[in-house]
């Protein structure tokens, strides 16, 4: 016992160092998992407040661009307004609530912190638990998908961008309907990769890639990007497809958080399947 204490005393500096490193490792692993939210994150009160005031300044500078984007979106929405359409048929349809059950609701949010130059990128949004945001909700913008909510505090939420090592999104080629998965290769915030598309499928540069209906996180048909380059001469059974992303992640300002009202039902059903 005495020797043990002597040993501990002699190497106290090294042992203290090891303890701190183990603590860091614990924090890193905790931060990686979705289920247990970490307490060292940018949704915490102090850092979120600083980020919020900084983004207030940059947001003012970028007001012109934001206005233009919103005006564009308004124009798009206006063209969907029922009054714009001339009703060509005399037949009248009755919309009934029992038929049209609303599946998705959208929460608007402001981006108060954002990065694109790391291997794993995150955003912080100005909406939190109080506004109905929960973990694993999707985040989109008018141009395409943005990411998935990872941590939530009372007023803020932290989002894993699709520019992240672990992001993997079920995607569909709009024209042919084939399903693959979209991942980010790293380094270039304007490009991603579409994987798991078999070689016999014809893919042309310029084809549109959208989200599939498989995930319970994103609605179907949200834009991801367009095909940039196709390489069929690979060693495996699949093609290498590089995708131009439709969203400029460096200049995100306003986004929508997607709430899927039937998510729990879908997840439950799919989990039952695994048990059998």
């Amino acid at each position: 016992m005495r020797n043990l204490f002597l040993f501990l005393w002699r190497y106290n500096f090294f042992i203290f160092f090891l303890l701190l490193e183990v603590l860091c490792g614990y924090l890193i692993i905790r931060n990686k998992s979705f289920q247990r939210s970490s307490f060292v994150n940018s949704a915490s009160q102090v850092s979120a407040r600083v980020n919020s005031s900084i983004s207030g300044i940059t947001e003012y500078i970028n007001l012109k661009n934001a206005n233009e984007a919103l005006a564009r979106e308004n124009a798009g929405l206006k063209s969907l307004y029922p009054d714009v359409y001339y009703v060509d048929s005399a037949l009248k349809r009755l919309a009934n609530d029992t038929i049209y059950k609303q599946q998705y609701t959208f929460i608007t949010a402001r981006v108060i912190n954002n990065s694109v130059n790391r291997r794993n990128n995150y955003l912080t949004l100005s909406r939190g638990e109080k506004h109905g945001v929960a973990q694993e909700m999707g985040v989109i913008t008018s141009d395409g998908i943005v990411g998935i909510v990872k941590d939530v505090s009372e007023h803020y939420s932290s989002v894993m961008s699709i520019l992240h090592k672990d992001s993997r999104i079920s995607a569909r080629i709009k024209k042919s309907g084939y399903i693959g998965s979209f991942v980010w290769g790293g380094y270039d915030p304007f490009k991603g990769e579409l994987k798991d598309i078999a070689k016999h499928v014809k893919v042309m540069p310029g084809d549109t890639i959208v989200t599939s209906a498989f995930s319970a996180i994103f609605p179907e048909g949200i834009m991801i990007g367009t095909v940039n380059e196709v390489n069929t001469e690979t060693g495996s059974n699949f093609q290498e497809i590089s995708v131009n992303l439709s969203v400029n992640y460096g200049s995100l300002r306003h986004v929508y958080i997607v709430q899927n009202n039937m998510r729990a039902e879908q997840i439950n059903l799919e989990e039952n399947q695994h048990d059998n």
Binding site: S42, N117, R118
Partner: protein, 176 residues
């Protein structure tokens, strides 16, 4: 003593603010993100006790982590260089050792000494940080390149900062 502590505290705030408000937002080619804040650990007075070094490094790392959503990656890298600092100082000590209360700056100990000192520790910091961030062997060489490139830029920024703001102590070399 009190003045010295206040000085260090302000330097801490300045470096954290510089890192979080300016350097974390550089979005140029996706490769460049220097982490200059680690300079705070290198600059601490030479007589700082080892255990205090580790604690300060841990707090500094956690503050940076809090602002950049990285769990404990910055804390891990910063604690590692705080642990390595006494060894590196001993390794590259001048012939007659350090005098008490030596200021660790290029004006006092010479440019070559300062360059070796900062590049060794900053390179170690960046390598650990980038490898922990990627945590995957398949990107070994691209990560290595990124770490070395950013370490170079960080060292350059530190040296520029030293010659621009490290004021007043030029004559000490001739006296001491």
């Amino acid at each position: 003593m009190i003045i010295k502590i206040a000085q260090l505290f302000f330097r801490f705030l300045f470096l954290v603010a510089l890192q979080v408000l300016v350097l974390n937002h550089i979005q140029w080619s996706g490769y460049i993100n220097p982490y200059v804040y680690a300079f705070f650990i290198l600059m601490l007075p030479i007589e700082t006790p080892k255990w205090l070094l580790l604690i300060i490094a841990f707090i500094l790392g956690l503050v940076i982590d809090m602002f950049s959503d990285t769990g404990g990656m910055h804390a891990a890298a910063t604690v590692l260089i705080a642990w390595a600092r006494p060894g590196v100082l001993r390794l590259i000590a001048p012939r007659d050792g350090y005098e008490p209360e030596t200021k660790l700056s290029p004006q006092v100990l010479g440019f070559r000494w300062f360059l070796t000192y900062t590049s060794m520790l900053i390179l170690l910091h960046h390598l650990v940080l980038f490898y922990v961030e990627v945590f995957r062997f398949s990107e070994f060489f691209s990560t290595f390149f990124k770490a070395v490139l950013n370490a170079g830029i960080t060292v350059l920024l530190i040296i520029l900062g030293q010659y621009l703001f490290g004021r007043g102590n030029r004559h000490e070399r001739f006296i001491g």
